[in-house]
Amino acid sequence: MTAPVSIRSVSHTFGDFQALSDVSLEIGAGEYVTLLGPSGCGKTTLLSVLGGFIDPTAGEVLIDGRDMTRVAPAKRPTTTMFQDYALFPHMSLRDNVAFGLRMGGMGRAARYEVAHEMLDLVGLAHAAATRPHALSGGQRQRVALARALAVKPDVLLLDEPLGALDLKLRRAMQDELKAIQRRVGTTFVHVTHDQEEAMAIADRIVVMNAGRIEDEGPPARIYREPATLFAADFMGEMNHIPARSDGSVVTTSFGPLPGLRAARGDAVLCIRPEALRSGEGALSFGPGEIKVSAFFGTYTRVQVVPEAAPDLVLTAHLPPSEMPEPGSRLTLSADAPAFSLFPTGN
């Protein structure tokens, strides 16, 4: 079961705090969307609005074309996978997974059959009779997933589902979540503050900040061509180079930038560390002194203070075969498509 979700001009305030300001978002049926942002950006509030746990101050939520804004969680075609899993400790895994079906009035034999199927889907069919306290964190998380999916929701809401797992398990569970989503076809809306997790798992990332959507789109597009400076920074490490536009030509301390246009005023030029390379290129940052050089396995991370702009520190990820010594000189450059330019407003 799956359905599209339409969020229209949703705002919500907690007392004086504006948690969501006029958020609109369309989510397609069967899509895997992550809401990404720092703590307090409104992503969990938006998920709670979708799940029915919060009545938004303004705006509406449509699921499969029907207005669900004020419908109770029990009556929505959504289920939520909670951050702390919220399993029922006094029930076996089988009863946990079958709980939603029991509420729907399904008979014991039929619901146990579905529960077994769901437990099998998450690889825990052998433990159907055990209680949650006997499980590890990753296993509890799988049970919570099976329980939420057992009622065949149109939309599954996941509230930082991998937050309590260690890094290795988190990466493994990401792949599994994605595979399960592909298999069941349900629309998944997943809240996280980990941009690597978002990129690994999502069809589409929605970057949020201060109650607003900063950017939304496929992971690669958001990473390479972020719509805002916030999205650029949140998606990964970014070099900031002050720039200035006179209306036709953009200039930095390293000279005019070919092929970029911006409205008159101050701006900031952003470039990812891995887009910088040693040697000359379309945009050269000239020679500089290497302050730090560290080997990271898949790349060598260097920090260079360019001679043309001694206030700046440029971070570059060079191929691991290059291991320049700190104190030596290095010329960094980049190619034009790797830039993003954002006006800073004055």
């Binding site: 959504t78 909670f82 919220a86 400790p89 509420m103 729907g104 939420a148």
Partner: protein, 257 residues
């Protein structure tokens, strides 16, 4: 020497606590007519005597009835109050909590006298039920405090999940909240049973013809010491110990594992 001192202290403390109980139990097996040294026996004649005494047995039954009934009612009311206060934002909830717990600080004598005046005024008539009401009054704060203290975020999230999966409020409470709180509710129940079982002043003031066991013992005491009283006391003690053991084995043990 310094290592023996704590042990000696421990033994002295336990002797101080349990010597009266031990002597009570010992002289319940007295063969003679007075529960004083020297010990003669052992003999079960006083147990046979009280077990065949209709008044004592009736009082024992009354006590069990009042204890179980008042504990069940106090638990039910305490749970509902705790659930309401823990799950809903109410105006003046701190004050309501305070008022619910305040009766703990009032002496049983005052509670009993107050209830006596009210009951006399309403013309309800004194009975086991009025004694039971008195016990609900003294046990409700305790039940509320125990159950309220064990309502944490974990239950709240599980309740949220149950609601999300389609459970209505009734099924949220019966299938999730109460089972998750079962240890606390059982602890409150058994504690209330033991307190009600031992309680004298309120029962004395609020009963008339049917009396509870402590009141019966008191009226027997007026005709002087007898090993019969020791035998009754031992039985009362046995019931209390049983309740505590049940609590320990089935509630706290399960909770720990």
């Amino acid at each position: 020497m310094m290592r023996l001192l704590p042990w000696a202290y421990l033994i002295v403390a336990f002797v101080f606590i349990y010597l009266p109980v031990a002597s009570l139990v010992l002289f319940s097996f007295q063969d003679g007519g007075l529960p004083v040294p020297p010990f003669e026996g052992p003999s079960l004649r006083w147990y046979a005597d009280i077990l065949s005494d209709g008044d004592v047995m009736a009082a024992l039954g009354n006590s069990l009835l009042v204890a179980a009934g008042s504990a069940a009612l106090a638990c039910a009311l305490g749970f509902l109050a705790a659930y309401g206060l823990a799950r809903h934002v109410l105006p003046g909830s701190a004050l309501i909590r305070g008022l619910l717990i305040a009766p703990l600080t009032v002496s049983y004598l005052i509670v009993g006298l107050g209830l006596l005046i009210v009951i006399q005024r309403t013309g309800l008539g004194l009975s086991l039920m009025t004694a039971g009401i008195g016990h609900v009054v003294i046990n409700l704060p305790l039940c509320f405090a125990i159950i309220y203290a064990s309502m944490g975020a974990q239950q709240q999230n599980a309740e949220r999940a149950a609601r999300d999966l389609g459970a209505d409020e009734f099924r949220v409470i019966t299938l999730v909240t109460i089972p998750m709180l079962a240890p606390a509710i059982a602890a409150a129940f058994f504690l209330s049973v033991t307190l009600s079982w031992d309680e004298f002043i309120i029962s004395f003031l609020l009963t008339r013809f049917d009396v509870t066991l402590p009141v019966e013992i008191w009226s027997m005491l007026r005709s002087g010491l007898s090993p019969r009283l020791n035998a009754i006391g031992s039985l009362v003690f046995l019931v209390s110990v049983t309740a505590v053991l049940i609590l320990e084995i089935f509630v706290f043990r399960k909770n720990r594992s």
